[in-house]
């Protein structure tokens, strides 16, 4: 029992080593660019990103991001896809499986920016949205309608998430940062379809973000939500608690007093 270790421990140690060496390497070599605007990617950022990429990503995505049998090519996926995957902690992947999990973020903000700049430099693709594009100051009513038509079938009408086929699932949307919501719609990560700007215009995407943020800020008017999971969870709750109470009262009514 002394040597009990998670099978992932070895992976985690190697991984941390990679991140540390990559990080130190990058810190030693590159001029860290503190500006948060990814539009103005400098050559030094791209160089730093390339080093991080070779240390952390290239084993699956291939040298220069051309892809291998284990992972797709990153040429042309754009900075938005890179920021969504790396900033949400999905990438670098921990293990293969039906779906990449959200983990604690593995890089500093500067390192993420560098990786985004590098991936964006590989080929033309959707760029990281600006602060104004992701601000939750659109029309929540319109966003709600668009959300119910385009997103709710997988993510649930209030963004509570849901199951897909063969172990995959649509994640919970509550608490997801605005930029990740925008980038997910724009790039279609993993099994999520793409909602390009012709399908959902930037204004549509802004309205959807506004709706999701409205849901987070406002409790359900109908009482306790039971995680918003819908009729199955509500039915089970009533079957057990409601019917249980009725049975208990019936037993009490029929029992003789002591």
């Amino acid at each position: 029992m002394k040597n009990r270790r998670s099978p992932l421990a070895a992976t985690a140690v190697i991984f941390m080593g990679l991140v540390l060496s990559g990080g130190t390497y990058a810190a030693a070599n590159a001029v860290v660019n503190h500006s948060n605007t990814s539009q103005a990617a400098t050559q030094s950022q791209i160089d730093e990103g390339k080093k991080l990429f070779l240390a952390n990503c290239a084993s699956c995505h291939g040298k220069d991001g051309v892809g291998t049998s284990a992972a797709p090519t990153l040429i042309g996926v754009g900075g938005a896809a890179a920021e969504f995957q790396v900033d949400s902690g999905r990438m670098p992947a921990q293990a293969s499986g039906p779906q990449m999990q959200v983990k604690p973020k593995q890089f500093t903000d500067e390192q993420v920016d560098a990786l985004v700049a590098y991936v964006a430099s590989l080929g033309t693709g959707p760029a990281v949205p600006t602060e104004e594009m992701i601000a939750a100051n659109g029309d929540a009513v319109r966003g709600g309608e668009l959300f119910r038509i385009n997103c709710a079938m997988c993510h649930n009408a209030v963004g509570a998430g849901g199951a897909l086929t063969e172990g995959k699932y649509a994640p919970v949307l509550s608490g997801v940062p605005n930029d990740h919501i925008y980038e997910a719609m724009l790039t279609g990560p993993q099994n999520m379809p793409v909602f390009n700007d012709q399908n959902l215009t930037p204004q549509d995407k802004k309205d959807i973000i506004t709706y999701l943020k409205y849901l987070e800020a406002n409790p359900s008017v109908g009482g306790y939500e039971l995680a918003g999971l819908g009729p199955v969870a509500e039915g089970l709750f009533l079957w057990i608690l409601g019917l249980g109470t009725i049975v208990a009262i019936t037993v009490w009514l029929g029992a003789k007093s002591n």
Binding site: M153, L164, T165, P193, V194, Q198, V221, L253, K256, N258
Partner: protein
Amino acid sequence: MSEKTKEHRYDSGLAVVQSGTVKDPGIEPHRVRMTDKSAKHERNASRQVAAMFIASALGSAFAIYAYFAFPITTELGSVRSNTFFLGLGITLGLLGIGIGAVHWAKTLMPDAEVSEERHQARSSEENRARAIEIIKLADQESGFTRRKLIRRSLYGALAMFPLPAIFFFGDMGPNPTDVLKHTMWRKGTRLAKDPYGTPIKASDVTVGSVFHVIPEGLEKLGADKLEEKAKAAVLLVRVADGVLKETPERAGWSYDGIVAYSKICTHVGCPVALYEQQTHHLLCPCHQSTFDLTDGCKVIFGPASRPLPQLPITVDAEGYLVAQSDFNEPVGPSFWDRSNN
């Protein structure tokens, strides 16, 4: 009372009574309650009952207080506290009276066990003879047996009365209209985005995209808008080159990797729209029917028994996606004369 019960002793009639059956165990021995044995317990029980009634009164008073303290304002969250606290007060008001009354009856009111036996179903000989007498008198007075013409014409009227129903119920047979077999899609109808009706260009649909589609003009319909939408809803997807496995007769139904399928499940009609971009599975959220979008939307899992109907599409001169015709078959779940033309 005991005299009367004896008179109506249960008669087994024609039933076979077996010897050695379980004997009537009678009433279980009376158990004396604590409230009957000890004055202290009786006092406590009466205090408990009174406490429940007082709790009820407090609950009702709280409901009045809650009405004023938690009003419904323009803020939606106020509905939640209003209903919750009103409900809490009214619940306490009702439950207090109910629990108090039951507790009172169980602990303090007389608890003698009494059994009442069933009386016999057969009427007395006297009543039976009188009933026959009345029927005979009625026959005599009305002349039912004597007046043949009246009697036979009445039989005829009674026999005719149900016949119209045969024709009325005949309408439940083959559906007199064909609304279930056709949708709004016609040759040349543009595919438009749900809900605002913006037409879609083929170039808008990039690989991996999914569009929720209505026929152009649906958004302008009046009362029948939802009815038409329920039949005509379409899911539009573009897959990478070489992914589609198309049969020769459907080769011309897609456009450059773009396919359009009915969104209405062939099982019980839920909207099938959970599209997985990499596996190309289309999942129905109601009963987990799964369709393979690359292979004519055939069923690969779940209770649905038919593939989703496909909408043949092409592009018009301006590059907008248009339907070539209506769906190739009626959309949605099976109905009785689905296969008849």
